[in-house]
Symmetry: C2
Subunit: 362 residues, 2 copies
């Protein structure tokens, strides 16, 4: 049966990098057992320009009914002055929430060929392989009450609410424990239980779930500020990190930058398995829309192509095809073929399209 | 007139490092124009053990009425299982709140002699000199409602509230702009205005204050997740960073670890100037109570001694005396005299007390 894929290129370099993904998908269609029904649609600024809103109901509806969504990136200066509720980011946030993609998997992997690209010393990051599991549909991103009000004295007051329930914590922690079992079998859970009650609840519920069902996995707890330090001090101490939406946003970005190759890192956002046996899923690169280089042919398509590989692995159970893509990436890197962001002395700097060519050739 | 100083050694290595500070204070009393009235009291776990609470009303009262408070560190495994409201950290949080110490100054400075101690490449951190101004009495640390409740379905729900008002934002931003004028004249303000209304308010109010009163300072805005990345990618792009309580907690810890010398970094927490012309102030090292090395003589007293130097500078307007202390630190480092945490090939590793000796000798 054909696999259905909704492609949302979005803004900035999104369309360029997604163009290369489409080429890989076409290649697989022809050469491999799998074949895809691909639909393309608008999200973010691109949707605002056409529809006035960052994602339409129709697009959300489509996203609900495909096997996987592949997203490029959203946002850019053009839409920066829009009202909060109309910004490109709201499109992505609505997709995450409506599809209930509560587990965001962000690998921070240091590619051997790119160790030198890191600002950290090679011995600190060589071999680095962390999986950050970020809660994605709760916490301060979605909590109510929220908003800005004007007080009687003329001052303004801005409010957001950090809120988590038992089941929200348990379901994302379960994903982290299950992933750990297939990796180094260690989970570090991060919060600020020393200052926030929502962090106390987080810590207690993660510990309970561990004791009930994942006693074989090594669990430790770490304050989020300490985690931010430890990622710099000795990142290889971590295997799987599980944390909430806001800490996950910050810690995963920090971790991704340690690798020195942000343009290389994919992510997966997963929901529950529904009645039809399908797990709702959205895949996207960790990097943003990079409006400064959009249209220049400098963008690195690898993160988005590796997001497709994650889709092959997690949504389609096609580990062989995922391996094929990941191997091609390693080979291209080993040959010294690089986009500008990961160039090194002696490497051949290529454009977005040429990187696509090189990957297909492998 | 004598300057009054309340010394709160706290827990773990707190008493050891503060012991060396006391020696420096005594030395100044004898050798310099300034003299001090020093009172010592309990905070954190040390206060819990004696009084059952992490800070008494009497101690807070004393703190209110001195020229400056000098704190060691709080917390440790002994008190980890206490109820949230009784933990050692609450003592520190209460002092910050009751004294209204809204501006937390955390320099992330890379000492030339210690460049190699960083996990980052020398060219990335050499010469690094960032001042992080963290809001310290608002935001999710103190916002109401907060707590954990049990829902009708048996689940639990943990809530904290992120809240800021116009005046809370303006007063801390003013501190940042003023500091920038004495430094590189650039301020980067960090929030998540793309997902949080409290961040939108933060950004707008910082911008307004800038346009009204600090137009000569260069202001830029950066999302907190991007800041976490940029600190790793190119930390020297920053001069002054101003941000809220929670982002400040994380970003300042990350930044301090970039320098590779956490045991070297002081901090100041400042309030408003009161009727008597006194600015409420608390000084403490950035590092924690390090219970694992407490009592072993391995602790590095420099961060706490440099906190005293900050007190001399900001509370007592004794720039010469502050310079004297800071110069002594540089000279000792240049001689290769090091505590274990900052040791390097060829350096002489000394104990906490020996480091104190060396500093006094200089
Ligand atoms: C674009 C933005 C809303 C988003 C977030 O904050 O979650 C991004 O930073 C991310 O990490 O995916
Ligand atoms: C001890 C703790 C309450 C404190 C905080 O979170 O503010 C500490 O991490 C700090 O940064 O001073």
């Amino acid at each position: 049966a054909n696999k259905s894929l909704l492609v949302l290129p979005g803004d900035g370099i999104g369309p360029e990098v997604m163009g290369q993904v489409r080429r890989v998908v076409d290649w697989m269609d022809k050469r491999r057992a799998v074949s895809f029904d691909v639909t393309e649609d608008l999200v973010g600024g691109a949707a605002i320009d056409v529809h006035g809103i960052p994602v339409t109901d129709a697009t959300v509806e489509k996203a609900m009914n495909v096997d996987a969504v592949l997203l490029g990136a959203v946002g850019g200066p053009k839409w920066d002055n829009l009202d909060f509720s109309k910004k490109p980011e709201r499109g992505l946030l609505r997709l995450r929430k409506d599809l209930q993609l509560y587990a965001n998997l962000r690998p921070a992997l240091c590619f051997e060929a790119l160790v030198e690209a890191s600002t950290l010393k090679p011995e600190i990051v060589s071999g680095l392989d962390i999986m950050i599991v970020r809660e994605l549909t709760g916490g301060v991103y979605f909590g109510e009450p929220r908003g800005i009000e004007t007080l009687p004295n003329g001052e303004r007051r801005g409010v957001n609410t950090q809120v988590y329930t038992t089941s929200e914590i348990r379901r994302v922690a379960a994903v982290a424990f299950e992933l750990a079992r297939k990796r180094g079998n260690r989970v570090t859970s991060c919060e600020k239980a020393n200052v926030m009650e929502s962090g106390v609840l987080w810590r207690e519920e993660v510990q309970k779930l561990h004791d009930e069902s994942f006693g074989d996995v090594e669990l430790s707890h770490m304050y989020a500020d300490n985690a931010a330090m430890q990622l710099v001090r000795n990142p290889k101490q971590f295997d799987v990190i599980v944390t909430d939406n806001l800490f996950g946003d910050i810690l995963s970005d920090e971790a991704s930058m340690l690798t020195g190759s942000l343009g290389m890192l994919p992510s997966a956002s997963l929901g529950d398995v529904d009645e039809t046996g399908r797990r709702k899923a959205l895949y996207e690169p960790v990097h943003g829309s990079a409006p400064d280089i959009a249209g220049s042919g400098k963008a690195n398509p690898i993160a988005t192509i590796l997001s497709l590989a994650m889709a092959l692995r997690y949504s389609f159970d096609l580990a062989d095809d995922a391996d094929l893509v990941e191997e091609a990436v390693k080979k291209v890197l080993a040959k010294g073929i690089r986009t500008a962001d990961i160039q090194a002395p002696g490497s051949t700097v290529v454009s977005t399209g040429q990187m696509g060519d090189a990957l297909l050739a492998e």
